[in-house]
Amino acid sequence: MAKGGIRAKLRRSSLYTLANIRSKPSYKKEEAAGELSGYPRVIHVNQPVVPETAPIFCSNYVSTTKYTFFNFLPIALFEQFNRVANFYFLVAAGLTFTDYAPFDWPSQVVPLALVVGFSLAKELYEDLQRYWQDKAANRRDTAVHVGNGVFKTKQWHEVCVGDIVNVKKDEFFPADLLLLQSSYEDGMSYVETMNLDGETNLKVKRALQNLSLPVVNDDGASHFGNFQPMIRCENPNPNLYTFMGNLEYDGRIYPLDPAQLLLRESKLKNTEYIYGAVVFTGNDTKVMQNTTQSGSKRSKIELQMDKIIYLLFGLLILISIVSAAGFGLSVRNTVPIWWYLRPDVAGEDFDVNDFFVSALRHLVTALMLYGYLVPISLYVSIEAVKILQASFINSDLHLYDDVTGTPAKARTSNLNEQLGQVDTILSDKTGTLTCNQMDFLKCSIAGCPYGKRLSEVELAAAKQMAAQMESHDSDSSHGSVSSSASLQAITISNNGNTEKKESIKGFSFQDDRLQNRNWLNEPNSEFILLFFRILAVCHSAIPEINEKTGELTYEAESPDEGAFLVAAREFGFHFIKRTQNSVVIRETLSMNQEPVEKEYNILTLLDFTSKRKRMSVIIRDETGQLLMFCKGADTIIFDRLASNGKMFLEATTKNLNEYGDAGLRTLALAYKKLDENEYSNWNEKFHNAQIASGPDREDMLEELSDAMERGLTLVGATAVEDKLQKGVPQCIDRLALAGLKIWVLTGDKMETAINIGFSCSLLRQGMKQICIVVSAEMLAQDAKDVIKVNILSQITAALQTVKGKKDPHAPFALIIDGKTLTYALEDDIKFQFLNLAINCASVICCRVSPKQKALVVRLVKEATGRTTLGIGDGANDVGMIKEADIGIGISGVEGMQAVMASDFAIAQFRFLERLLIVHGHWCYKRISKMICYFFYKNITLALTLFYFEAQAGFSGQMHYDDWYMLLYNVFLTSCPVLALGVLEKDVNAEICLQFPALYQQGPKNLFFDWYRIIGWLSNGVYASLVIYLVNMRIFSPESFRKGGQTADMYVIGTAMFTSIIWVVNVQIFLISHYLTRVQLHTIWGSIVVWYLIVYIYGTLPVSWSAGNIYHQLPEVLGPAQKFYLSTILVTLLCNMPYLVHISYQRCYNPEDHHVLQEMKNLKKDVTDKKMWKREQSKARQETEIGLSARVDAKMRYMKGKMTRRYSTLAPRSP
């Protein structure tokens, strides 16, 4: 145990914290008779021979699959035929075996079987993937007590309720466990619950204090041999943060609370091992109770497509009724005199004596006959295309994260095109926008700012400003000197910084005045010393030796603390050891001097809670002086300063504001000298309060610490960069330029959220922040109605300000906190709230619970009707991800919960840009083009049948061979449209990215609006008319070839069908803009294959085609020139209106992508860079957030100043 060196002495984990003393006492069994009956779940721990009555608990086998082996077929088939089109085709296929059918059974059954078979195969494959995932989870190993203290390795699914398991460091808990004992003497253990709630900091769990179990050495745990307590607890429920029950052992009853419960999917950290009793297994575990079956999401395009399908069904029913009526009338009026039909014989098709029944029967036939209006292969083609599109997303190298080696993953392919229609992005903060890694960047000590390096936000803004300047310079020559000079300054200082030395994780500070012990020469060196000491001493971290390098790393509860410790180390205050009540710091006070180890006795530690927003330690230094070090949120600390401790207040506040604007996270540091009497008095009270029991104990402790943490002296402030993920500001900027709205929903406190808002450029100076908050007092005291009225009045007031805003460049930002949100989301005021929110440029919701995240998403989604996208990385974002129209999970460090719930998983936030602006845009256009074309081609075919009916007495006869019809959707026209759906793009990726405004075509739904859909449907109607009438006139009634023969029905049918094949394929050629070899081959291939099919089909024995097509192509149609002339004529005539339309549109009413295509075509991007750039800057959405907005604001500001003075950038880079 290499790292045990430090830890071994630390048998008690960190007893200084307030938390660990709060433990309920146990009581005798007799005293608590009432409580025994309260809990329904009774668990006999550690009883291998389970009583007969036991198997009430489910096993630890976890299954997330949708189907089982037996129910797969029924359920999957049911789902398939739940789609109205599929159900229709199922009925139609069934009817083909009756006499109602106008064609033979294969023409309906084969396509249906193919379509459904494909979908089933896809379902099966997806479910198998889930099954394998489950299997892997169920097969994980854990050590289970088998009696007499012997532990044996078992697989997870074998773990039973009541078992005692041993979990080692960094292992996951196999089930929900009751913590019995840990490697720490006091039963503490640290747990990482990232998979559950998305928080990276470690949670402290604590075994029952009073349950005295013998101390164990590693493996020896023989005392469990006869440890057989009984647990009574609540039934399984999805609430992660509650647990109630009690444990009965040795005649005593120990009350249980959530602090003893270790949840499945969380991980043991910093603790060598724990022993726990299994309480909930398998599907009873809290995490499984929390997973809800994700309802499959459907994209808006698909929903609209359903409407078109209904429209087509309407058309189908209409023409069927027309047919049936026509048939009925003809049966009544004309058929009786058509002797050649033997109308006197009543047949299955009609009976002249009962024309009405004949008409009704014919209705069924007609409904089947015109079924080709509804493209049977549409769903399956779309599915196939989407799978391929998803695979493009998966294999896109630009979405591949080199660092972690994670590619993007489209987990559902249903929503590809929805990516192109997003209107509002709702983002998590921690882990999504930020990496949750803190870098110590700047500090202010004694009012003097230190730290020269620019924060990422400043850097990004500077770069963009430089670019902007450049383009402005070329336009207007004045002012160029100053800007380029200042730009140079920035780049130089920046380069100098980055190249100097390799970066230290958590420390990006750079200022020679403080580094290399130079701070000793600074004027306020005593304060600087104090500052560093506070950093090094005032924390609750544990040092840990890295086994490989021997270096110390710190296990801190929050990443800020880790950054402070690293910073302190770099400044020469190396925290090396923590013992029970002291910390050891190796201090290097001057260059030449050897480091000195100093031990600071920690007398009391008042720990950090989100309520207190501060932490303090009281120490005795080497001189015996009692000191209290305190760090905390600036507002809190400033309130607690002594009147003589405010000498740096003004300067520090100024610095803090600057840091805030630079997107940094700040904390203020303060200290206080104590005298012995004061402390011992206080300590006595505090100790009494600690050991006291009763409801007001915590309030007392709170009061006491509050009393102690007053009269402080301000030392300085730290500025830590919550490191944004790579490229986040730029990505947000692009998304904003593309016209997307971005909301941040975070569980963090308001200050942090605002900081991040600044660092992502969602907020900036000059924005008016509207904070909707209800004070804590009000929440505590007032009735709900009063609070609501208060919130409502705040909202209305804000709304009025927003509405009446005068300055176009002073947008509003809405910041609301979770508590307030609870009320704001209630039905009666939520629309006012939303109204306000959508009028604000950015919205930040802080301290929101996972459920509220989901509620906000739902509100936006339902009330605005726009497409929402939820992006997050932790389990706390799962609700949001599931609720949003599109859920995106960041497959980063924080476990897999979010990813598992998401529709798309990407490795970094910045990939969202490409995912939406490139893939989303393409997919949207592809799918909409594809669907329109699908309807077009089916209308074209089906209506020719209808016209023929009108000339065949509506009798239900087809002039096409059954096999043509069968192959049309499945084979003859499917490949080009698939290729279109997969490969089509209007402009290539770079242009999409360079002209983000192009994205707006999606949210505005320009390519799948009713105007366009109706246009396509009419085009289909026109084409069908032309095909039918022209072919009819050309081939009938005269002979059509030199030999004098006339055309029979099937000759005309084949000729017409050939025209259809040509028309629809030329049409798809015309609608494609990006014609790769694949598309060209499929288009020509389809046409060639058609001729081949007719030829080959004609060579088959007569009986195969009922003789109709026998030798038709080589003997009948092939030698007839008219056949070819008619095809050419019809093809051109059908496509001419479309060609005229697009020509006119391109010339006189071009859409954005047309212009870009032209520019690209003329190689403007290469030949005329200047113009290209200018166009680029024009192709943006007006935006009020993002870097560009920030730069714009800055530019306006500078322009204002320009007249007076040049460089305003200078002070920023001294």
């Binding site: 039909l341 081939f1035 009634p1037 002979s1039 006189y1148 075509n1161």
Partner: protein
């Protein structure tokens, strides 16, 4: 239209170096990264005008040629169903056609307006006859036509599958309603030979109608439909039947009856001796006899030529309209984003 090498554009902005790949793996890489080289047609005005103009230039000549071909075909059409009814039956045509004792013989005199070059095809044309009715089309058995009595699954032939308990060959309504008007021709006093062989498709004769299948029990019922068949001739040689069995697509259709293998001179009078047997009177159909020459476009049908000329001339018209629009109101290509500012850079055409 310009072909863009996808690779160059991809490499241009890629930060990460694209691995140099060859052949198949390169194609796969391009496919997965969606950078397959492609041709990207952009409809510039020049293209639009050029395309439409070219279409016009190609279509009009084809149209003219087709029209000319159609004009060169001579055709004599004569409707005879009304005039062949004797005056006494004019008001009751049904009685006439159903009365077997009345002579159905009839003479028609056709004047040849233009020289007609052999072969001259003889057609009969029926109107308002729904050979495409589903019941009619279905009522046949191709298997039986090929195999004869040996094949007995002739349920599709109902209601003409059995008569007097015996199967009918050929069965079905199509065969049963066989057209049975006959025509013979004479010029002056000289009889014109009619070639009645090879009027059906070769494949039909050889593969679809049995060589050893003879009509059986055909038209033996009380209700006789159309023509009778010579039971000594196999079906494969009954070309009238074969032609008839190829059901027509539309209610108005022509079917080939035979060929005259001599030229007909201008102003010749052709006498048609016909037997007006077929009942079109009950359903108000018409019967015509058609003599027509044929060329590579088939019979006389000016539609194709006219349509071609129409499409061609409208293409040219459209080309001119676009040209005019473009000349009068040229859209500054590429500068569209700039239009608000009213200034165009040099790059604009």
């Amino acid at each position: 239209m310009e072909v863009d090498a996808g690779t160059t554009s991809a490499v241009g902005t890629d930060n990460q170096p694209t691995p140099v790949l060859r052949g198949r793996s390169k194609a796969i890489h391009q496919f997965t990264q969606q950078t397959l080289p492609a041709c990207k047609p952009v409809l510039t005005p020049a293209w639009v005008i050029g395309t439409f103009f070219l279409m016009g230039v190609l279509f009009i000549p084809v149209g003219l040629i087709s029209l000319h071909a159609s004009q060169s075909v001579n055709e004599i059409v004569d409707r005879y169903d009304v005039d062949c009814v004797p005056d006494t039956f004019k008001n009751n045509k049904m009685a006439y056609i159903k009365n077997a004792s009345v002579s159905k013989s009839c003479h028609r005199y056709l004047k040849v307006h233009k020289h007609m070059k052999a072969p001259i095809y003889i057609y009969y044309q029926l109107d308002n006859f729904y050979q495409n009715h589903r019941r009619y089309v279905k009522s046949r058995s191709d298997e039986q036509l090929l195999k004869g009595l040996g094949y007995n699954k002739t349920s599709s032939c109902e209601p003409q599958a059995f008569e007097n308990g015996l199967p009918i060959v050929p069965c079905g309504l199509v065969a049963w309603s066989l057209f049975n008007d006959t025509f013979s021709f004479s010029r002056g006093t000289k009889k014109l030979e009619i070639e009645r062989k090879n009027i059906a498709w070769k494949s039909d004769r050889e593969h679809k109608f049995g060589k050893n299948v003879y009509p059986f029990n055909f038209q033996n019922s009380s209700f006789i439909g159309g023509g009778k068949l010579d039971t000594t001739i196999p079906l494969s040689d009954q070309e009238d039947l074969i032609v008839w069995m190829r059901t027509a697509a539309f209610p108005s259709f022509r079917k080939l009856y035979g060929r005259i293998e001599e030229d007909l001179e201008e102003d010749d009078i052709i006498v048609v001796h016909l037997m007006n047997n077929y009942n079109t009177y009950s359903f108000g159909g018409t019967k015509m006899i058609v003599l027509s020459t044929s060329n590579w476009l088939g019979g006389k049908n000016s539609f194709l030529g006219v349509a071609y000329i129409f499409v061609g001339s409208s293409s040219i018209l459209i080309a001119f309209i676009f040209l005019l629009l473009h000349v009068k109101n040229p859209r500054p290509y590429v500068c569209i984003f700039l239009k608000d500012e009213g200034q165009f850079s040099n790059g604009c055409s």
